[in-house]
Amino acid sequence: MRGLVRLMRATGRVAEPAPQRPEGLQGANAAFGGSVGVRHVDAGSCNGCEIEVAATFGPVYDAERYGAKLVASARHADVVLITGVVTRNMLEPLRRTVDATPNPRVVLAVGDCARSCGVFAGGVGVAGAAHDAVDVDLAVPGCPPEPDVIVEALRRVTLR
């Protein structure tokens, strides 16, 4: 425990200074008011994007300071964050997850795979990109996208 206290003292605040707030998403509902629950769905990703998403909510990028929070259930979510190509097995679960998310909601496709199938285009188990399965409001490019870019996309929804 003493070691932990010393570590906390030595580390202090590791979060990077906040970059300038991006413009709000067109059509994004003001009902969120600086509080957004994010449900992450891995529709068939290589786990590259998962690492970046985890870093987004880690201490350094700290998406929580802008009001975004990972939640455990689609029922609690305002944003469905999709990573990876949509595989055949995940097509129906993905649709159901989006359906289970109460309105108003925003669907966010993160990474080149979710945007346009990326390197997995034409693969045998691939049903398509995220926009082939559900209505996507906002897409984040990159393979994998850097946490900065994911944070920026989330801030366009939280408006903070």
Partner: protein, 318 residues
């Protein structure tokens, strides 16, 4: 006298409604700062509630009136507990007893409502959460009762406000072995009852380790907002009770404006300090394995039981 008590109860309910989300925000913020993060701000729980109130409320097909009524019952029980527990002031009611048994049963009504909400959607995780929740409630309630009973023996009354008043009159009793044993037992029980670490992790995403989160996993929109507010009110009321027993000074002894103002300010201070201490302590502990939780709670029951035994011995010696 009764009019003053009623006015105090209203003040307590209003204050707790405003303060308990801020208390949760403060606890999250403390934790965030200790982890090197910036944190979402103390106001974040209020932003969450405002957003949830504006969202569509989806209910799983097949759910009945329990899903609609349960969250409201939880909030009502939380508000009632806030009205009955001596937080801002300790003016005994004449007609409504603020007896410890009444307070514990009021909290238990909320516990059962929450468990029924978890069962109603018929999902595996909801039922699992409800089952765990009731197991813990069954272990916690006796501890709370016995701990406060130990404090009530020297006073000769089980009314919480009389216990707090007696402690203001006799400050030495706060540091007596009976009081310390009972308060440690009560603190463990409060941590378990409000779903904090090491019994339950309020920020977990792993369904298999969830207790509170598992029960609310199918609730959305306004339902979820009520459930969150209800459990925050319970946390506030129980921490406030602990604060009033631990540091009884500042609690209003009549319903005068000045006394109530001092009571409100000290209550906010006590809650802030207790919340920060609890959140800071949570950084250092990991969640207990579920099967170890009864051992912890049995330990707290033993402490409470020792407090009762000691209180008889101390009374006879004195």
């Amino acid at each position: 006298m009764n009019g003053g008590a009623a006015a105090l109860a209203v003040v307590q309910v209003v204050v707790m409604l405003v303060v308990s989300p801020l208390l949760v925000g403060l606890m999250r913020q403390t934790r965030a700062r200790l982890e090197g993060r910036v944190g979402a701000g103390v106001l974040q729980p209020w932003r969450d509630l405002r957003k949830l109130a504006a969202k569509e409320t989806l209910r799983a097909s097949g759910t009945g009136w329990v899903s609609a009524a349960g969250p409201l019952v939880l909030v009502a029980s939380g508000l009632l507990a806030c009205a009955l527990v001596p937080l801002v002031g300790a003016v005994p009611f004449v007609s409504v007893p603020d007896d410890l048994f009444v307070v514990v049963s009021v909290l238990l009504v909320g516990t059962v409502a929450l468990a029924l909400v978890g069962l109603d959607a018929g999902t595996a995780f909801g039922g699992m959460g409800s089952s765990r929740h009731m197991t813990i409630a069954a272990l916690v309630e006796p501890t709370v009762l016995v701990a406060v009973y130990a404090l009530s023996i020297p006073v000769g009354s089980s009314a919480l406000s009389r216990i707090v008043l007696a402690r203001i009159d006799d400050p030495a009793s706060v540091a007596s072995p009976v009081s310390l044993l009972a308060l440690v037992a009560l603190a463990i029980a409060v941590v378990a009852e409000t779903g904090r670490l090491p019994v339950d992790n309020p920020s977990t995403h792993l369904e298999l380790t969830m207790i509170h989160e598992a029960m609310v996993i199918e609730s959305s929109g306004r339902d979820l907002g009520w459930l969150e507010l209800g459990s925050w009110l319970r946390l506030g009321a129980l921490l406030g009770l602990l604060g009033s027993l631990l540091v009884p000074w500042g609690v209003a002894q009549d319903a005068g404006v000045a006394a109530v103002l001092v009571g409100v300010v000290t209550l906010v201070l006590k809650l802030a300090v207790l919340g920060c201490v609890l959140a800071a302590a949570e950084v250092f502990v990991a969640k207990l394995r579920l099967f170890r939780v009864p051992e912890l709670l049995a330990g707290s029951f033993v402490l409470a039981f020792l407090a009762v035994t000691a209180s008889y011995l101390v009374v006879q010696a004195g």
